[in-house]
Symmetry: C2
Subunit: 160 residues, 2 copies
Amino acid sequence: MASNQPPKNPALDQAAQSSYLKLWLELARTSKTIEQQMEERLQTEFNQSFARFDVLSQLERFDPERLPMGVLAGNLLASKGNITRLIDRMIKDELIDRKPSPQDRRIIQVGFTNQGRQLFKKMAQAHAQWSSEILGGITKKDADRMLKMLRTLQATSDID
Amino acid sequence: MASNQPPKNPALDQAAQSSYLKLWLELARTSKTIEQQMEERLQTEFNQSFARFDVLSQLERFDPERLPMGVLAGNLLASKGNITRLIDRMIKDELIDRKPSPQDRRIIQVGFTNQGRQLFKKMAQAHAQWSSEILGGITKKDADRMLKMLRTLQATSDID
DNA sequence: ATATTTTATATTACACGTAAACTATTAATC
DNA sequence: GATTAATAGTTTACGTGTAATATAAAATAT
C-alpha cells in the first residue's frame, strides 16, 4: 500500500525548491539593500555613482595602462552602448580621458586623469571601510564560508 | 612590556576588512548574474521583465484585494516616480487594471486582470523551478545556512 | 468654515541598463 | 586588389531606477 514511490525529481521537490527560491529572493534583497547603501554613501561623500566607481575600479586594475571601451564594457557587465555615455559624463568631470589608439583607429583608449586617480584612491578606501561596517553583522568566519558558497553559485549559474 | 595594546577597531582590521569587501563584491556579482538569468528567462518564456514579475508578485500576496500605488512602490524597492509608468505599460498589456478608490479620490487601486492572474501563476511556477536549477549547485543545507546569514546581514545593513 | 498640513499620485529631468541599427576601420578571402 | 566579414564605437529607442516638484484630495487646526 502506502509505498507507491513518487519519481524523485530534485527540481520538483517542494521543500528543496522552496529553500532555493527563498535563498534567491533573500540574496537579491540583501544585495540590493547593500548596493543602495553604497550608492548613497558614494553619492554623499564623493558625488559619484556606483557605476562610475566600477569604471574607475577597472581602470585601476590596469593603470597606468589604458583600456579600450570594449574591454571596459566587457568587465563591467554593462553593454557598449551604455559605456559611451557613462564615459562621456566622466570625461566632462575630468575623472578620465579618452585617446584614439595610434595602431588601430577604431580603438579608443580610456585612462585616468590625475584627478580621477586621486579620487579613486579615496573612494576605494572608503568603500572597503564601508564594507566592514555594513557586513560586520556576521563573523569573519561566516563571511568566508559565505564567500565560498557564493563562488560555487557563481560558477554554476554563470555557465548554464 | 610589549603589551601596548593597539585599540581594537574591527572596522580597521586589515584581514577582516578584506573578507567583508570580497564578500560584498561576490554577493553583488552573484546576485546580478542570477538576476540576469531570470530576466532572460522571463523575457524569452513570457515576454515580461523582472520588474513586472515583481509587481505581479506583490499583487498576488493581497489578491483579490487591490493595492494603492504607494503601497506597491513601498514593497518593490522601486520609487513612486517609476511605478506610474511601469503600471501604465502593464495596463496597456492588460495584465492589471487601475480603479480610483470610491472612499478616497486620491487613491488608485491596482489589481489583476484575469489574464494577468493566469500569467502570473505560470511565471511564479517557472520562477521557482528556475531557482532550483540555478542555485542547485549548493546543497539544501548550505542554502539554509546561507539564508540565515543573509537575514542577519539584511537586518544589520537595513537599519543603520 | 476656512487655512494649513499631510497624503497619494503624477510629472519631469536625469542616470543607467539593454538591444538593434549604423558608421568607420581593419582583417580575411577570393 | 576588390569584395566580404569581423570588430570597435556610437546612436537611437526604450525600460527601469532615483530625486525633485507639482497637483489634487483629505485631514487638521484655528
